[in-house]
């Protein structure tokens, strides 16, 4: 990993604070800040100065922010550094990080700021030792993430685009390295056609990535409870209040079981376990299929009871099934009289209950605050690393697309194939990083597997 290019990362825990910080270190830091930030006063911040203004992506305002500038070597990493302090939550830091990467920074490896700080003599050996452990642990996590998260179709699609690039490269290379076998020659038209195909695939991949995957990584909340306690009303209440935002999200999945809302900038995927037939058996109450799966997947369970009916036996059976998860109680139907002994029964269950009425929205605000509070105080572990991994993958796709675009432009301008192969090699490498593969002999292997050449 080079140590004097420009790196960037979100340096505050995602979603866990009122402020989010995107940190940039390296020779381009100042230049990136100039492009991305418009200060209110019109002045650039000097060394150790703070300016208030807006983060701009072209003509769009991404967020209001404070920009600080520390000139190397008098900074943490001993390089030029800028920090964007923007609104907390997920959306803002993510969009700023993406912008900064587009402007030339590279996503930092876990611990890389500290690594630079150490290598540039800013921190001592014992501190560095600690970082070393951290890197080891974090990298394992990231590797797990790279292979684990990219399950199924996405990984297959990246691989298939990558294979096609390799196939095209092999066709080009064989005609370069074995010119006497001119029956294998590849024309500019062939190259262009193949590049356009790959380009199309990558484009739709990026689109679907933007739409589905990232949002899919939001905090998963399952609504659980016996029938008729008002689970669906609660879902509707949460969703209705957030309707405007939901409508803004392109391609939000709208199946019956789940809805997306935004809470303090953090996407929530709310899964309703309603619609299960009535039964004495607790397992069947929740349903063995999707409902249990939803609970298992959930980062947080909203445990709904009817305060006018008290905690019934059915309620207790449901509780047994969800109690392993972080949970928040919703004591619904506060417009009715509370059953005597209800509060004592709640205390016995041992989680916090919010008194509310889903029908008229009473207590809804308090419930949302409570969810956020649990999230921010760490009661729920929604891995920041997972989001991080995703942005990294997206950056890889963007980079690959840029290289393929360059190859397309080259093929259109009829430049020679050895130049186009430079762009294809870049694209191949970028895609390889997404799926955690970096193989240097692939191309040579492919040439000999596909073509009959040699003296």
């Amino acid at each position: 990993m080079p140590i004097d290019d420009t790196i960037a990362a979100i340096s505050t825990p995602i979603g866990r604070g009122g402020i989010g910080i995107v940190r940039v270190s390296g020779p381009l830091a100042k230049n990136i800040a100039e492009k991305a930030f418009v200060s209110k006063s019109g002045k650039e911040p000097g060394h150790f100065q703070l300016r208030y203004g807006q983060v701009m992506d072209g003509g769009n305002v991404l967020d209001e922010a404070l920009l600080s500038f520390m000139e190397g070597p008098h900074s943490y990493t001993a390089q030029d550094m800028v920090e964007f302090s923007c609104h907390g939550g997920f959306a803002s830091v993510r969009s700023i990080l993406e912008l900064v990467v587009r402007l030339g920074a590279r996503l930092a490896e876990p611990g890389e700021f500290t690594k630079r700080a150490y290598l540039n003599g800013r921190i001592d050996l014992s501190q560095a030792e600690a970082v070393l452990e951290l890197i080891d642990a974090k990298t394992k996590h990231a590797q797990l993430g790279a292979s684990g998260r990219l399950s199924g179709s996405l990984s297959r699609k990246v691989k298939s685009s990558r294979d096609r690039i390799l196939g095209l490269q092999a066709r080009i290379e064989v005609s370069l390295d074995f010119p006497e076998y001119d029956d294998e020659a590849v024309s500019s038209e062939d190259i262009l056609e193949a590049c356009l195909d790959v380009r199309k695939d990558l484009g739709s991949l990026i689109e679907s990535f933007d739409r589905g995957r990232l949002l899919d990584e939001g905090l998963k909340v399952a609504i659980a409870g016996r029938p008729n306690v008002g689970k669906s009303s609660l879902l509707n209440a949460l969703v209705n209040e957030d309707r405007a935002i939901v409508a803004d999200l392109p391609g939000t999945t709208r199946d019956v079981l789940s809805e997306f809302i935004h809470l303090g900038g953090m996407p929530l995927k709310i899964m309703d376990t309603a619609g299960i037939r009535q039964s004495r058996d607790a397992v069947e109450l929740l349903g063995v299929g999707k409902s249990m799966q939803a609970v298992r997947d959930a980062d947080l369970v909203l445990y709904v009871v009817d305060s006018s009916m008290g905690i019934t036996d059915d309620d207790r059976r449901v509780w047994e099934l969800v109690k392993a998860k972080p949970a928040l109680g919703a004591a619904n139907k506060s417009d009715l009289d509370v059953k005597p002994g209800f509060l004592e029964a709640c205390a016995e269950i041992g989680i916090r209950f919010i008194s509310m009425n889903a029908k008229d929205g009473e207590g809804l605000g308090e419930l949302k605050d409570a969810i956020q509070e649990m999230f921010f105080t760490g009661g729920i572990e929604a891995g920041a690393d997972e989001v991080f991994v995703n942005i990294r993958q997206k950056a890889g796709l963007d980079k690959a697309l840029k290289s393929v675009d360059a190859a397309v432009a080259g093929a259109r301008a009829n430049v020679s194939p050895d130049l186009i192969s430079i762009d294809l090699a870049d694209a191949y490498k970028s895609l390889g990083l997404i799926i955690g593969e970096e193989a240097s002999d692939d191309l040579v292997d492919k040439i000999f597997a596909d073509f009959c050449v040699g003296k």
């Binding site: 080079p2 390295d177 020679s416 003296k455």
Partner: protein, 626 residues
């Protein structure tokens, strides 16, 4: 044992690696003795009769820039020359020449003989001797003599415990009927080297007077021939070009092969060595690419003083009778006579990862290895290593740091780094696809890239260096001027553009922007560039390339900068990887056995992940401070 003389350096083997090694060391002032199994086989070309080709041509140019001999020797002895890949981009141009094999060998021998510090001796070397401190002290020969030396360079080619296979016939010999070197192979094993078994092959030779060339397609050389050596005057080498011919195999050929596959040592299991994928035998091609109705075959002369023709593309180890049948199945060869059978050859070679980038053994100091003994294949690959090993053997004797060419500096760097860092499990051939910075590593600029290093090594004269420096300055100055030069639209300019099929211009335009158009060039625009200095064609072409490919060149240079930073991080010799916290077990093992010299080299070892590299960088940075 009888002691017979003392030398600075001994070179074992007189092939392409041995010749370059012996010449380099002796030209650096060392007293050198070169052994060859037969003095008639010095610089012999036992397989194809050509020098150069894609990426190999680059190697020859680089050898020349560093002060080696191969380029000069082929310039003296070629009989046909072609610049390949003229339409595929500047990095792909490759020079290939057909050699007169006998003349090439004779001419190289004359060069060796005229070298003051160099002695030549015919004898099989049976052992390398070392002392208790792990230092090489000399070699033993089959005649029971011990020759003392401070450094030994092994360039044994394919002779180590070699055997040749042709159908059911197996002959314990080196290539072309020469003797095998069995004893040395055993000695190397005793010295603790891991040996591998590789295989390669060659086609039959045909009596050219029995071929009907009218049924084949003639292959012409270039009208104006380009020399390999930067010091050869192009005007002095122009000559009449001999012809090669293109022919094709057909269904009858393939049928003859398929019918007798069980008699092929390749398929009967007689061959144990690993063959190279880029050099498949014709039986391999027929089996692996069964759907191809025909394969290309080039008929190439072995020299001007013989009728023998080489059949490129049809290397084989089929039995003699099948060989006759299959060669005669080609159109124009119906009644051809074989002069020599094709055969496969198996031989021992080293595991090249046991060497340093200087090509010195990690275990035995003063022992250098070059060429096919290192698992490579090809005359040019061998010569390149021989040159580096010869230079570094001399430097070792003189107590100087070795010369190491980086991957970003030359194909030679890629070749040696691949062999040493990654190792090879089949005979290794140079390919342009192996060079990640190939746009910068062109055959046309090998002099600009490596003359300085050649001068530093001591093989290039001051005069030649100054000439190259002048050329460099001129290119730089002219490129800078041309970049700023704007052309105004004129009837004449637009007429030229129209003639070239290029879009006309309505406003002023930078010359460099026009030169970037594929259909135009810096040279073509000369009439509109009034203040252009007069430049020789080579220099003008360099300026053209700089202007034309500016963006791509810049990107590759940026990549090289990143690459160099990691290469610059030196790993201390003898570092104990087992005490580095955070390295994965696999990485520890790989690093411990490969012992890379730099972090960059470590990053290219398979099984070492980017995370391991991070950990390593830390650890090394810590070491000084702990």
């Amino acid at each position: 044992m009888r002691e017979s003389g003392s030398w600075d350096a001994i070179v074992v083997g007189g092939g392409h690696a041995g010749c370059e090694a012996a010449l380099a060391a002796s030209r650096l002032g060392m007293k050198v003795l070169m052994f060859a199994i037969s003095l008639d086989s010095i610089a012999m070309m036992p397989c194809n009769p050509n020098i150069g080709g894609t990426s190999k041509g680059h190697l020859v140019r680089e050898i020349d820039a560093l002060g080696g001999e191969m380029g000069k020797n082929i310039d003296k002895t070629f009989i046909q020359s072609r610049m390949l890949n003229t339409s595929k981009g500047p990095a792909m141009l490759s020079l290939r020449a057909q050699a007169d094999k006998a003349a090439y060998s004779r001419s190289m021998r004359q060069v060796l003989e005229s070298e003051e510090n160099l002695a030549i001796r015919q004898s099989e070397v049976t052992a390398v001797r070392v002392d208790d401190t792990g230092k090489v002290i000399g070699v033993e020969t089959e005649y029971g003599a011990f020759h003392r030396a401070r450094a030994v360079v092994l360039c044994c080619g394919t002779y180590l415990a070699s055997r040749c296979l042709c159908g059911e016939t197996i002959i314990e010999s080196g290539p072309n009927g020469l003797r095998t070197a069995k004893a040395l192979s055993g000695c190397l094993r005793e010295l603790g080297f891991r040996l591998q078994r590789f295989k390669t092959g060659t086609p039959a030779r045909i009596d050219g007077s029995t071929i009907d060339y009218s049924k084949m397609i003639p292959q012409y050389g270039d009208e104006w021939q380009t020399p390999f050596s930067f010091s050869t005057d192009p005007g002095s080498i122009q000559r009449e070009q001999v012809l090669c011919y293109l022919a094709y195999t057909n269904e009858a050929t393939h049928e003859a092969i398929r019918r007798s596959l069980d008699r092929s040592p390749m398929y009967s299991g007689a061959i144990k060595g690993t063959g190279a994928r880029y050099c498949p035998s014709i039986e391999d091609k027929v089996v692996r690419f069964a759907d191809k109705p025909r394969h290309q075959v080039f008929i190439e002369p072995e020299g001007e003083s013989t009728n023998e023709m080489y059949v490129s593309g049809m290397s084989t180890s089929m039995p003699e009778d099948v060989q006759e049948e299959m060669y005669r199945s080609l159109s124009g060869m119906e009644s051809c006579r074989l002069t020599r059978n094709g055969y496969a050859i198996e031989y021992d070679c080293l595991d090249s990862t046991e060497l340093r980038l200087s090509l010195e053994s990690r275990k035995w100091s003063g022992l250098f290895c070059a060429g096919q003994i290192n698992g490579s294949s090809g005359y040019e690959e061998a010569a390149a290593q021989g040159l580096v090993a010869g230079i570094n053997a001399a430097r070792w004797i003189l107590g100087k740091e070795p010369i190491i060419i980086k991957r970003s500096e030359g194909y030679i760097g890629v070749l040696i780094d691949d062999l040493i860092t990654k190792g090879t499990s089949e005979p290794y051939r140079m390919m342009t696809s192996r060079a990640e910075y190939r746009l910068l590593l062109r055959q046309d600029n090998a002099d600009l890239r490596l003359t300085e290093l050649g001068h530093e090594a001591g093989l290039v004269t001051e005069e030649r260096l100054i000439k190259v420096e002048e050329k460099k300055n001129l290119i730089e100055k002219e490129t800078a001027r041309a970049k700023k030069k704007a052309l105004s639209p004129s009837v004449e300019l637009n007429a030229l553009l129209a003639e070239r099929g290029s879009t006309p211009v309505a406003t002023g335009i930078f010359l460099s922007d026009l030169a970037k158009r594929p259909e135009l060039s810096y040279q073509i625009l000369a009439p509109f560039d009034s203040d252009r200095p007069s430049l020789d064609p080579d220099t003008a072409e360099q300026v053209n390339i700089q202007l034309k490919y500016e963006g791509y060149i810049k990107r590759q240079m940026d990549q090289v900068e990143q690459f160099k930073k990691l290469e610059g991080k030196v790993i201390p010799e003898g570092l104990d990887y087992n005490c580095i916290k955070g390295l994965r077990v696999e990485a520890r093992q790989k690093l411990s056995s490969s012992r890379p010299a730099s972090v960059g080299q470590a990053s290219r070892i398979s099984g070492v992940s980017p995370a391991d590299i991070s950990v390593l960088v830390y650890f090394i940075a810590n070491m000084g401070k702990a």
